[in-house]
Symmetry: C3
Subunit: 363 residues, 3 copies
């Protein structure tokens, strides 16, 4: 267990692990202290997510390029998946959908924008692998089209059979997973030379022995699931206390909590002038949530939740995902970045965050 | 008549010509066998469209660059025009509109995507003339804006005079034709050097003597018109039998039938690593339908149909055209293609096809 | 006063100054002659705007790069600001909003398109500074997102508190001004080398002594304010006389009048093969109106108008701004222009102008 303890000693973020037993204990004793439980569960999820992503990377590093890439691509957003599954089991469909869309928007706008800004404050101009960024932007574009279709049909005033939206969502989910699988075949096999520098970046970190990595993966997954349950139960009531709309909580707070670990890696990459790494994490993570996590949730909802999950989102949500995808497409055409590009992207995110914060809750 | 017969012997697609007399005979005798007539008319239109496009090219090749380009640009989608005119005469306005929009979407997404995929399965990376693709994408963008305007006004809840939409459609049609004419001046005259490789590609095919070409053009046009009448009369009832929504039939089936000949050329170009040819056919054909066929139908509707045709489309249709144009713009920025780009573009088409297939018919 | 008189003698546009006393006198005597007053005020504003922009540039030239850039960036659209403030004071909110959106659309589509066309008729291909155009396109994209948000919320059917739209507009205004300020820091300070050729272009014109420039600035501002009052009072009634919808007047006529001076500079730049100058004026002016004039009007509306101004626009308006921004993004990716690119951009403008002209006034 040496490498794990060493890592905990060196990474202050992991000291937050102390909150894991605290939140689970208080959840047992004082299940009505929603605000306290919300804050504690946020503080506990962040270090767990960090461990989870490090464990995934370590397993991936040991298993060779293709399988490793596959593992990273499927388990890289395990935290988001567990939180969403917990919310799904609790029947909180609005929270599930808000957290999916919020994770896409937060990863593309906040994580990408802050990476550009942090990198640009240190370096005059930075460059990144355009081919790789375009590939992720293409995947995001496909997912956005899939998410737009149900909303456009509704907006068009179509008289729809009650089962139509479920059939459509199931079909879209299968198409998106197929697109994602083919995308992995493309980026890990047939054209992997185009994605070279991103992979090189990620293997730099020290990796754990395989036994430790697998044990951590299993143990931490259980812990994340337990803490997520507390988080999902408390988030609604806590939001009311803080005067936040539930849209703001699902879209902004959950997404920032779930992505904290990846953000730490992306920002540190940008400060080291390895912007390829940052762009890869931000866009790769967004694409993974859109083309893997969301469809998997739709499929699993047939076994877990009270009713199947569909892909019909609130129009405002779809709009934000669309703008995030367009921003990504515009930003990745040049392959260069400066601090002001970061400001522009962050400002778009701020506009969304402010709107959701001000939005009254009946909406 | 030797070259025509030789071509028929060598091109298995043309053996389908045998269905032309069959469908016309059965239409006379058993006009109620809708499903049979639908299938037979589809099988008969495909070889006729192939002959028509070969005859047009042969005439174009004999008449020199500028006039030839003009001929190709106006008669290149004669099949689509005849089918739409037949539907217009029968007062089937929804079918007319669906087939226009469907042809744009099918050419940009299916024809382009399948060309990328087929070419990419054989060659690691393929390149194409960016300037030419951008020109076509620009024309498509203009047409998309024109198609969007009426829908946005309706969606904005404007209280509109009954004659307003007709005046607007007439104005838009004139503007689009003017844009198309200026585009031909640009690509065939003032800046033709930028479009060089596409033209070079198309002149490769063996061309017929001018007399044969003109006779084929005239004769086949009459045959297409006759078979189109059978097709338009049977399509609605046949769709019900197959359980297909009329939106699916107009958008997908009619577009695939009408464009079969061009698809054969585009795909064969991609397999021969002449992707310029494929991109030119796919986008050129889409632009031609949007900026020439559709406006001409609006103008002709004042003489042919029971009431004038307007350019107000169902919102879902406009959305698909918009996404097709955005996809084109994104895809043509780099001028390179791989198999996965083809998958991405085809997936967008699949999403649309699936949605239209599932969509209940009241919509 | 020599340089001012010399300029007036050499610039025929300035001879229109004779209409300034005429319009003010007639407004006193015959305040009911709306059509006459409208025509005269248009004729009087054009030369005043020309003087105003020349005076601003002269002051800017004397005060060094950074301060000068700042002055140009804030006072460059003083005419538009004064007209909008006058309309604001008169409580004509629809005119204010139409003139803001119209100025953005007119500058990006008409000024840019006509520059491309006029330049392209003289030169086969022209090039312009892509980095600078992209920067302005980025600012416009940010502003468009801000303008879209309120409309999308309304379209999404959200039940909104009456104060929500005001709070949101205030927040958006502050964000936009902050974005604009950071953009100036970027383009005038930290990365000014990327904007080099545009600045070089503008300093070519002969500049006035500082005293004359300041006196002109002050005096002409007062005159523009006086004439604007006549213009705003007469525009509605005059439009009825000419059979123009008020949307057409606000969007097209006011924008063309307010931007006449800048158009003269942009077109002359294009004819001299200094397309950087034209693109800089067109996009810079649009960005300035979107990120500086519009938010300043929102902030000032708390002190001037009867009720605060919000940023909720008519959906058709938002659509046109969105298309204008997309056109800008598409056009600026290549950094090259030909006459046909100008035609394409102008055609989009024509589609909008025609639609607004045909649109019945109840809308």
């Amino acid at each position: 267990m040496n490498p794990l303890l060493r890592e905990i000693r060196h990474n202050p973020l992991l000291w937050l692990l102390a909150f894991v037993p605290v939140v689970l204990a208080i959840a047992q004793m004082q299940s009505e202290a929603h605000t306290l439980l919300f804050v504690l569960s946020v503080l506990a999820i962040v270090p767990l997510a960090t461990l989870l992503s490090h464990a995934t990377e370590s397993v991936a590093a040991k298993t060779g390029d293709a399988v490793g890439g596959l593992l990273n691509a499927t388990l890289g957003n395990l935290t988001e998946l567990i939180i969403a599954l917990t919310a799904l089991g609790a029947g909180q469909y609005i929270l599930v959908k808000a957290s999916i869309a919020g994770a896409i928007v937060t990863n593309t706008l906040f994580m990408l924008g802050a990476s550009f800004l942090l990198g640009g404050l240190k370096y005059h101009t930075q460059e990144f692998n355009r081919a790789s960024a375009r590939f992720q932007a293409g995947l995001l574009f496909l997912a956005t089209v899939a998410l737009l279709v149900p909303s456009v049909l509704i907006a068009g005033g179509a008289a729809l059979h009650p089962t139509f939206m479920q059939e459509l969502s199931l079909g879209l989910a299968v198409l998106l997973i197929a697109g994602y699988a083919l995308g992995m075949l493309f980026s890990l096999r047939t054209h992997k030379e185009a994605f070279a520098s991103v992979d090189a970046g990620e293997s730099h970190e020290a990796s754990w022995p395989i036994g430790l990595a697998l044990a951590t993966l299993a143990g931490v997954t259980v812990l994340v699931a337990l803490v997520s349950e507390v988080f999902v139960e408390s988030v609604q009531k806590a939001a009311e206390t803080f005067g936040m709309s539930s849209a703001f909580v699902g879209f902004i707070v959950v997404a920032l909590v779930g992505g904290a670990a990846e953000m730490a890696s992306a920002f540190s990459g940008a400060r080291k002038n390895r912007l390829d790494l940052s762009v890869g994490i931000a866009l790769g993570s967004a694409a993974q949530i859109a083309l893997f996590v969301a469809p998997v949730l739709v499929l699993l909802s047939y076994f877990i939740g009270p009713t199947p999950l569909d892909l019909q989102f609130w129009p405002g949500t779809v709009f934000m995902v669309l703008i995030a995808t367009m921003t990504t497409a515009l930003v990745t055409t040049s392959g260069r970045s400066t601090w002001f590009l970061g400001v522009l992207v962050l400002m778009v995110y701020l506009i969304f965050a402010m709107t959701l914060y001000l939005l009254p809750d009946q909406a």
